[in-house]
């Protein structure tokens, strides 16, 4: 009995253990530098090109808002999935997350996106809503007809001879306004993305 008490004291009252128990400190909870967190602003000037919004895979995660005289992207953390695509897509390095920007500069990688207007002629009712709603169209021809007709050849699309014609696909900025106003879901913007390396913009 006596022996076992001494054995227990020896076994469990080690100075090192007691010291650890009393003075142990948990490492501070900091994100490692390579952790890809929510995108943060780097302070460079945003040009309101909306590339970040167009590549974002989640609805409602990023918006470009006007703050005084300048534009600045705003991240909604509840929606953002921290994929880092907005950082890669931004041509002006406005955003940064983890080491995404750093590796992008080091390896010269980029993400290019091309927009393609696709119309399903079977479901299109030629109402012209997409033509009227398109912000690029509005800029190109302020005198757009309410039914989507236009005398200007610089518009992306217009109603002509009872049909919807896509004239300048390359001008599309991928904002998808036409998709939201289309009553039948006939018009859709394909966003064709490509991950590249060593290609100068």
């Amino acid at each position: 009995m006596g022996l076992s008490v001494i054995w227990y004291l020896k076994e469990f009252c080690r100075g090192k253990w007691i010291k650890t128990l009393l003075f142990a400190k948990t490492a501070p909870l900091v994100d490692p530098p390579y952790f890809r967190g929510y995108p943060t602003l780097t302070g460079k000037e945003c040009t309101h090109c909306l590339s970040c919004m167009m590549i974002c895979p989640t609805p409602g995660a990023i918006e470009v808002l006007r703050e005084g005289e300048k534009w600045a992207p705003k991240i909604y953390p509840g929606h953002c999935i921290r994929c880092g695509f907005c950082v890669e897509a931004c041509p002006e390095d406005v955003l940064d997350a983890g080491r995404v920007l750093e590796t992008q500069h080091r390896d010269n990688t980029s993400l290019s996106v091309r927009y393609q207007v696709t119309v399903n002629p079977d479901t299109c009712v030629r109402c012209g809503n997409c033509v009227v709603a398109c912000p690029v169209n509005k800029e190109a021809d302020p005198q757009l007809g309410a039914s989507g007709t236009s005398a200007n050849d610089e518009v992306i699309m217009r109603i002509e001879r009872g049909n919807l014609w896509v004239l300048h696909n390359e001008k599309c900025t991928g904002c998808k306004t036409c998709e939201t106003v289309c009553p039948t879901g006939a018009i859709r913007i394909a966003r064709v993305a490509e991950g590249r390396q060593g290609v100068e913009e």
């Binding site: 490692p32 390579y34 952790f35 890809r36 590549i55 895979p57 989640t58 999935i81 921290r82 994929c83 880092g84 695509f85 890669e88 997350a97 983890g98 080491r99 995404v100 590796t103 080091r106 390896d107 990688t109 393609q116 696709t118 859709r188 394909a190 966003r191 064709v192 993305a193 490509e194 991950g195 590249r196 390396q197 060593g198 290609v199």
Partner: protein, 361 residues
């Protein structure tokens, strides 16, 4: 005929051993299980419907979210399907980086599967040791890809980030540590008499039954079937891949196959780091239209994506077949039949590494 079933014991959908909701109804006679039936459908997400009409840069994130544990392989198989549709070849260095990240993901998945088994047979000490090792693997994943779980690492034509100069050394050092520790824990599992009582000869799935039930992955390999889709993958063939096969057919064999695959993964990562050429990690390439059925080896077995894309690379139709449904069926119809105790049902079920989130999508 006289009814021989005493009681139909339902296990689940909420049960301390289950990680995800599923119900197993066992028809019992005394303590013996006569037959078992699995009831699925508690966590249907409808993710394939959400994927429709979206381009790859959106679907790849949805694909990762099919399964929380083996998210990398869903990303990899989906991206390789899109590459097969569009005829894109990944950059050579990127192919090896994909293998490294995929094997790290497989390691953490196998470690958590073995943890679950140890936890289910109430050997929590060993389970927690294994979870501790998993943490090292997750740290490596975070170091390479930037995230622990939904890594979003692979894109058509390559991967998103290259290794930094110090990353390869960190990976090698951690792999040495993991090899040392997992050897010790595998020894504990191999030689533990109490573990053997709960595992050896329990939940036997014979080779014939496994073939009949179309078991896949470690469950099939523990029944003596040498099936592993990695042996058909071009990059794995360069690395000299050989599947791990055991012939005991019981719970013990299934766990030991996973332990064996942990060491195999360590070897594959080391070889990939040594063989990896210098060069770009993104080859570029635009996704095109077409329809392809493509399979890859997930930690749990064969994972198949059937994707039909339109000419701008948008997914029009998609169907995912995940490995767990085969193993859950094999478990319910063959392993549990004739189990000597209700207490073995949970352990046997967990030993087949079911992932309900994958199964129901």
């Amino acid at each position: 005929m006289k009814k021989t079933v005493d009681v139909a014991v339902p296990i689940g959908p909420v049960h301390p051993c289950w990680k995800e909701p599923i119900r197993i109804k066992c028809a019992t006679k005394g303590e013996q299980v006569l037959s078992a039936e699995v009831e699925l459908g508690y966590m249907k997400k409808g993710i394939e419907r959400i994927m429709q009409g979206r381009p790859w840069q959106e679907v790849m994130f949805l694909a990762e979210r099919v399964c929380g544990i083996c998210s990398v392989v869903h990303n990899m198989v989906f991206i390789e399907t899109m590459e097969a549709i569009s005829g894109i070849e990944p950059a050579e260095r990127a192919a090896f980086l994909r293998v490294i990240v995929n094997e790290l993901d497989r390691m953490q998945s196998h470690l958590i599967a073995n943890f679950s088994y140890c936890y289910t047979i109430e050997h929590e000490t060993l389970g927690m040791y294994l979870l501790n090792e998993r943490e090292h693997v997750m740290d490596l994943l975070e170091r390479i890809t930037g995230n622990r779980v939904n890594t979003a690492y692979m894109i058509p034509g390559g991967v998103r980030y290259d290794l930094r100069p110090d990353d390869a050394d960190a990976v090698k050092a951690t792999l040495d540590l993991l090899e040392k520790n997992i050897t010790r824990y595998m020894g504990i599992f191999e030689s533990g008499p109490m573990i053997a009582l709960r595992s050896r000869g329990v939940g036997v799935l014979t080779k014939e039954d496994a073939l009949r039930a179309h078991a896949v992955g470690p469950t099939a390999r523990a029944s003596g079937i040498s099936v592993d889709l990695r042996s058909k993958h071009p990059t794995y063939r360069k690395l000299g891949f050989e599947p791990v096969v055991r012939t005991e057919c019981d719970n013990y064999a299934r766990i030991m196959v996973r332990f064996g695959e942990l060491f195999q993964s360590i070897g594959l990562i080391r070889r990939a780091l040594a063989m990896m050429p210098e060069g770009p990690v993104r080859g570029g390439g635009i996704c095109k239209g077409g329809e392809v059925r493509y399979s890859g080896e997930a930690p749990r077995g064969e994972l198949t994506y059937v994707v039909k894309a339109d000419r701008y690379g948008r997914v029009e139709e998609i169907a995912i077949q995940t490995p767990s449904i085969m193993n859950i069926d094999a478990c319910a119809h063959y392993m549990l039949k004739g189990a000597l105790s209700i207490a073995d049902v949970t352990a046997t079920f967990i030993s087949s590494d079911p992932c309900v989130a994958c199964t129901e999508r």
